[in-house]
């Protein structure tokens, strides 16, 4: 049996040693299979922990913005509040109304949760810590995460509830519209990297992040990305799909108990994914802050482990998106679609052309 050589800086050694140990102990096929199941279980646990912690953080930050304390009672500073919530939701009766389409109603919960769960597999968490490093990684993320909108439309339609239908329609129009700007602003950086593989995109930022290296178009692209991806995940100020004051809870009005919890969880996993993709493409993912060939500075930055860099960047982006929610008033549907089709889409296309000029002339660093 080989020893586990664990390093916080490079996980590939750890993964390889676990894999080697499994193959050695069991037969190659069985060992490989056990490895797959282990990875899947890790992702299940990660998804659950992500949902629990993000809901808590969101409630706490929301409370601080409004000069409240937020959840304080369950556990130290309310840290066990979300665990208590999920247990409560498990014990709640799962209602299905008589007039709803029961098959689609249940299917929606699966579709909406599985899309972000599959996307999580392609996220590079740290060096060597990525389940699927596809050569079309970014395209995979863009396309699979857009399956989620099908779940929203299914949920709204199958509920046979007016609020749900309105919410789903709004949400569908909003998500498909903003998806374009998200994809085009990510393409802006792909022009520079020349690859869709996430590990290569990260490797290309070893001498500086694209937001700094990519000149002005990269900054514009990030601005468009952050606005469009906030809208794509139905977060405030673009949350009129679930505008409580108008249409109760939008597309998940009829869902109760654990199925409601999955809608909530999917929303937060999506939130994590857009932050992670933004951090990977624009801010170098797990790559520490490097400046050209300033060797001393670079090696000083390398002391901080990649996984800390990755989650640190995500935390900053998430904080900004939460900040938007409590700063801007909610948009109306017509304003929302105007913003996308008349401003963001033309801006992002022109920005793409600008970036191709920058790439041709070599004006990036």
């Amino acid at each position: 049996m080989t020893l586990l050589n664990f390093s916080i800086y490079d996980f590939s050694a750890l993964i390889n040693s676990i894999d080697a140990w499994l193959v050695e102990t069991f037969s190659p096929t069985l060992g490989h299979l056990i490895g797959l199941v282990l990875v899947g279980t890790c992702f299940l646990i990660f998804t659950a922990l992500l949902g629990l912690s993000l809901v808590y953080i969101e409630r706490k930050i929301c409370a601080f913005f409004q000069q409240r304390l937020g959840p304080m009672r369950v556990g130290f500073w309310g840290t066990a509040q979300t665990v208590a919530d999920i247990i409560k939701l498990l014990f709640k009766e799962s209602l299905i109304t008589k007039k709803s389409d029961k098959f689609l109603f249940n299917l929606a919960a699966f579709v909406i949760m599985m899309a972000p769960f599959i996307v999580l597999s392609a996220i590079p968490f740290a060096k060597g810590l990525q389940a699927l490093d596809l050569n079309i990684g970014l395209f995979f993320i863009i396309s699979v995460s857009s399956i989620g909108v099908t779940g929203i439309l299914l949920a709204g339609w199958s509920s046979n509830n007016k609020y749900s239908l309105i919410g789903a329609m709004r949400s569908g129009a909003q998500i498909v519209s903003y998806e374009l700007s998200v994809a085009i602003s990510l393409m802006t950086i792909v022009i520079l990297t020349g690859s869709l593989q996430l590990s290569e995109i990260i490797a290309s930022q070893s001498d500086g992040w694209w937001i700094f290296k990519g000149n002005i178009p990269a900054i514009i692209a990030f601005g468009v990305y952050i606005i469009a991806s906030t809208a794509e995940t139905n977060r405030g100020p673009f949350d009129m799909a679930e505008a409580e004051s108008e249409i109760t809870a939008g597309f998940h009005t009829e869902y109760s108990g654990i199925k409601f919890a999955f809608f909530f969880l999917a929303e937060y996993v999506n939130f994590f994914i857009i932050s992670a993709v933004g951090a990977t493409v624009f801010f170098g993912g797990w790559m520490p802050l490097h400046i050209g060939d300033a060797t001393f500075f670079n090696s000083a930055m390398d002391v901080i482990p990649p996984i800390v860099w990755f989650f640190g960047k995500i935390a900053v982006i998430m904080f900004f998106i939460m900040w938007f929610k409590w700063t801007f008033p909610r948009l109306r549907i017509d304003q929302l679609l105007t913003l996308e089709w008349k401003y963001l889409l033309p801006i992002s296309i022109i920005n793409l052309l600008l970036m191709s000029i920058v790439a041709l002339k070599g004006w990036h660093f």
């Binding site: 799962s94 389940a131 699927l132 498909v176 393409m187 020349g194 108990g257 017509d334 679609l337």
Partner: protein, 116 residues
């Protein structure tokens, strides 16, 4: 891990949701009554179906989306090889985008983007 492990994530996704639903089904109480079967709308009995024809504005945006999504799919391989192909790729994408943006301008001009 290879791309075949996508199947794994598919299975575990089903396990995640299905497991939650099954556990909830086993431990949650269940008491049926007629009021619970009603849609959560406004308290008084619901009038009519919700499966109705919906306003056409949403479908116009869906059609516009289709055009631009196909355009985006065309542009993804373009963006990957843009730097290698150089000027040729740039001129070609300008022609391509001009045609697509003309479509957007047409829709804009005909009032497809107006919401009233």
């Amino acid at each position: 891990m290879g791309a075949e492990s996508l199947i794994l994530f598919f299975i575990f996704g089903i396990l995640l949701v299905g497991g939650g639903i099954v556990v909830s089904y086993l431990i949650a109480p269940s008491s049926k009554n007629a009021i619970k079967d009603e849609a959560y709308e406004c308290g008084i009995p619901t009038k009519g179906e919700s499966w109705v024809q919906f306003r056409v504005g949403y479908y116009l945006f869906a059609i516009l989306f289709l055009i631009f999504e196909v355009e985006t799919i065309f542009m993804i391989p373009w963006a990957v090889v843009m730097k290698d192909l150089g000027m040729v790729a740039f001129v070609e994408i300008i022609i391509f985008l001009a045609i697509v943006l003309l479509g957007l301008l047409y829709a804009w001009n005909r009032g497809a983007l107006k919401w009233d």
